[in-house]
Symmetry: C2
Subunit: 423 residues, 2 copies
C-alpha cells in the first residue's frame, strides 16, 4: 500500500512550490460554488477535489461511506465513521492522485467532473461543532497575562501547572475564513470609580490558536486516557479566537469570559488530519511539578507547526506581527482530551477544542495584540506607517500555519477575517 | 377560537386532581416505547399523545408542519418553524382534546393509535441543544456564595448588579430525567499547602435551576432586544445543574467552572411553552442601580413558579430539602437573552439557557446543598434519620415545579436523577 505521507510521492496534479497542499496533505473541507451545493472535498495544490463526485463515479468503492456522507455541508458524517475509515479514505485519495496511478487521470471526462480550480469555489464552515472548548495551554501566554494583570512574581495562577485549564466557548459563532465580523458592543468599565458604559469594544484583539476536532468519544461517565487520545482526534485547523479585552475585563470574574469571546471565532477551512501531521510530532517540554497520573503520557503529542499573524489595513499591504509555533504548548492535545473527559464528560463527533493563545518566549512570538503591544503600551508600526495597539475597523487579520520537514510542507492555508464597524 | 389557557375548558381525557398536565398546559416532549421509536408528543393528565400519529391521521392538517417534524427524536424541527407555528399547534391540540369537540374522541380506533398511558412510555431528551448557557441570576444565591467564599460585607461582585452574569456550559452532557449519573472524578486541593489530589468528588451538589429553549434567533452580528425576547423563547423546563464543589473550587479561577459542571446537567422532559406560562407572569424586583438601556424592559418577564427539591436515600422515603420559586430571579429571561446577543452572538433554534441556582431569601428556599448546609456546617436531617451535607452515592435527587392561579395548575413534572458511585 502507498503511504500517504511518503515524501517521495508526487501527484499527477501540479502543485506550486511552497504549496500548503501537496499530495502528502489531503485535508478535508466543505466547499460550494455557484453551480454546486455544499459538499465535502479535499485539495491538492490549487485544485479542489469533489469527493461526492469521486464517490458517485465509483472511485471510493469498498470504503465504508455512503453518498450522503459527502453530499452534505459538514465533515461530521465522515468523521462519524471513525479513525480507520477516514485514514483509509485519505490513503485512497493519495493513491488515486499519485503520479504512478492513472485510474482517474486517464479519464479526462471524470477529471473534469471531479476537479475545481480553487479560485472558482467558496470554502464553508468545515464542521458542525457540537461543543466548543477553549484551553489556555501556552505557558508563555499565561505568564504574560498574569504579569500584566496580576503579579509578575507569581504570574501563573496556582492551578496552572496542574490542570490544563480550559473553559466552554460558544459554538454558534464559529465561522470560516472569509466571513467578516462586526466589532462587538458591550459593557465596559472606564475606571474603578465610574459606572459601566455600553458601546462598541475599544480593545478588539485576535488570539492565535489552533483547534482540533474529535471523532465520537465514549458514553457519558467514561473517560479517554492520554494513551487513547489519538484515536479520538480527526484533525486540526487554525483558529482566530477574537477577543474584546475591555468587555472581558469587566465581565469575567467569577465565571470566565462570555460576551468578550462569543461574538466570533474564525477558523481556517481545511481540517488537516492527524495522519498528515504525524511526521511533525515532537517531544514536549518537561512538566514540573510532575503531573498527576491521568495526565502522564507516552510518545510525542506536541507538533512543530510554524504559525504567523498578519494585519492588513484596508487597501494596504500586510505586516506580519507575530511568528509563533504550536510547539510552544505546555499541555498537549492528549492531556487536554484526557482532562476534559476525566470527570465522565462525553465527547462527541464534531466537538472542537482550541489551544488557547499560542505565544512563545520572545516578543515576536506573542500571539495576541494584548501581549504584542503589552496592554497598549508598545504600539506596533505597520508597513503603511500606521500604528496598532489593537485591531481597527476595516483591518483584516490573517493567520497561517505550516509544518516542514524532509522536503515536505504540510500547511493549513489561512484564516482571514475583516473587521467591520459596530452596527 | 378556543383559548388554550382558558381556566374553564376541560378535556374529554381524564385529568387527576393536582395533575401538572391539564388541557391548559400542553407541553411538548419526546417519548419512545418498546414498540415505538422516539417521536414528538404532548401530555394531558396521565395520557401521552403521539403527535406523529395525530399528524398522519390528518388532525394537524393546515398547520405548517410535515411528518418528519414529529417523527424525530427532538423538538428542534417543530421549534424551527417559529413561534406562530408552535402556538397554532398548541391551540389545535387544545381544540382537539376539548370536551366539547368530538372530532377525535368519537373515533375509538384513532384514539387508540394516538394515546399512550404514561407508565408505558419512556421520556427522552426533548431538545438537541446547540449551545448551553448558564446564568447566575438569583441575587440571594450570588449573595450566599459571596458571603461564604469572599466577604459578607461585599458579597456581590462589582459587576453583578450591572450584568446578567453567565457562562457557557457543556451541551453534550445534558440528560433527561431518569438517567442516572456517576459521581465525577477530578482534581481537588485538600488544603492550601498540599499538592492537588485526584479522585471521586467529595462535595457533590445539585443546583435548582430552570432553563428556557430558544427558537432561531438573528444572524451573527445582530441583537435581540428585551422587547423582542418573547418571540424567541419557546418554553421552559426544570434543570438540575449538577456541581462538584471541590473540583470547582480548585479549577475555576480564572476561566470559570469547567469539569465541576460538565459531567451532567439533568432536565425535566416536558418543555412547557411560554404560551402556557403567560398567565403566571409577574412583575420583577426593582433593579437598583438602574440598568443600562439595553437591559431595560417593559411588561412582566418574571414568572411565579413554585419549585421544590427532594432527596430520596436508597430504599427510603423522600425528604423535601428546598422550597423555592422562580420569581426570586433578579435578572429575567428577556434581559438574559438581550445581554447574550448584544455583542452580536447568534442564538440558534435549540439553544438552552439556564437561570443559575434559584435561591430565595430564607434558608428553606436555598437551591443547593452548598447553601442549605452552609458549606457543610449545618447538615440536613432526612426523614430516615440520616444526615446530608452534600449528595451521597445511591441518593436520588428530585426537582419539581408548578404554577397555580385561578384554579389552574400548570406543572413541569419532575427531574429525577440517581447518583451512582464513581467508576
Amino acid at each position: 500500500m502507498i503511504k500517504a505521507n511518503d515524501p517521495s510521492i508526487q501527484s499527477w496534479l501540479d502543485v506550486p512550490e511552497n504549496s500548503d497542499f501537496p499530495i502528502q496533505n489531503i485535508p478535508f473541507g466543505v466547499f460550494k460554488s455557484e453551480n454546486v451545493s455544499a459538499r465535502v472535498g479535499t485539495r491538492i495544490g490549487d485544485h479542489v477535489i469533489d469527493l461526492n463526485a469521486l464517490f458517485i463515479l465509483g472511485y471510493l468503492d469498498n470504503l465504508p461511506f455512503a453518498n450522503t456522507d459527502f453530499n452534505t455541508d459538514s465533515l461530521n458524517k465522515i468523521m462519524k465513521k471513525g479513525k480507520k475509515a477516514t485514514t483509509d479514505l485519505r490513503n485512497r485519495i493519495s493513491k488515486l492522485f499519485n503520479k504512478e496511478n492513472n485510474d482517474l487521470s486517464s479519464n479526462a471526462h471524470h477529471v473534469q467532473q471531479v476537479i475545481f480550480p480553487v479560485e472558482r469555489i467558496e470554502m464553508c464552515m468545515p464542521v458542525q461543532v457540537g461543543d466548543y472548548t477553549d484551553f489556555y495551554s501556552s505557558r508563555d501566554h499565561a505568564t504574560n497575562v498574569g504579569t500584566m494583570f496580576r503579579d509578575p512574581d507569581n504570574a501563573l495562577l496556582p492551578n496552572w501547572l496542574w490542570i490544563p485549564v480550559g473553559y466552554h466557548g460558544r459554538a454558534s459563532s464559529i465561522i470560516p475564513s472569509g466571513t467578516a465580523i462586526r466589532r462587538p458592543k458591550g459593557q465596559q468599565k472606564p475606571s474603578e470609580n465610574e459606572a459601566p458604559v455600553f458601546g462598541p469594544c475599544k480593545l478588539l484583539d485576535f488570539e492565535l490558536e489552533m483547534a482540533f476536532v474529535t471523532f465520537d468519544g465514549k458514553p457519558l461517565g467514561d473517560s479517554i486516557s492520554t494513551k487513547e487520545a489519538k484515536d479520538y482526534i480527526f484533525g486540526m485547523c487554525i483558529m482566530n479566537d477574537w477577543s474584546a479585552r475591555d468587555i472581558q475585563k469587566w465581565e469575567y470574574v467569577p465565571l470566565g469570559p462570555f460576551l468578550a469571546k462569543s461574538f466570533a471565532s474564525s477558523v481556517s477551512p481545511w481540517i488537516v488530519t492527524m495522519d498528515a501531521l504525524e511526521p511533525f510530532s515532537i517531544e514536549g517540554p518537561k512538566q514540573e511539578p510532575e503531573v498527576l497520573p491521568y495526565l502522564k503520557y507516552e510518545g510525542n503529542h506536541h507538533y512543530d507547526i510554524n504559525l504567523e499573524v498578519g494585519i492588513i489595513p484596508e487597501k494596504s499591504e500586510e505586516t506580519v506581527v507575530c511568528k509563533s509555533n504550536y510547539k510552544h504548548m505546555y499541555w498537549n492535545m492528549a492531556q487536554q482530551l484526557a482532562h476534559h473527559s476525566v470527570n465522565g464528560c462525553n465527547i462527541r463527533c464534531g466537538d472542537m477544542m482550541a489551544s488557547g493563545t499560542i505565544s512563545g518566549p520572545s516578543p515576536e512570538s506573542f500571539g495576541s495584540m494584548l501581549e504584542i503591544s503589552w496592554k497598549g503600551t508598545k504600539p506596533v508600526k505597520l508597513k503603511d506607517g500606521s500604528e496598532r495597539k489593537f485591531i481597527q475597523d476595516t483591518d483584516t487579520v490573517v493567520m497561517r500555519g505550516h509544518c516542514k520537514k524532509d522536503g515536505v510542507r504540510i500547511g493549513f492555508g489561512e484564516v482571514s477575517t475583516k473587521v467591520l464597524p459596530a452596527n
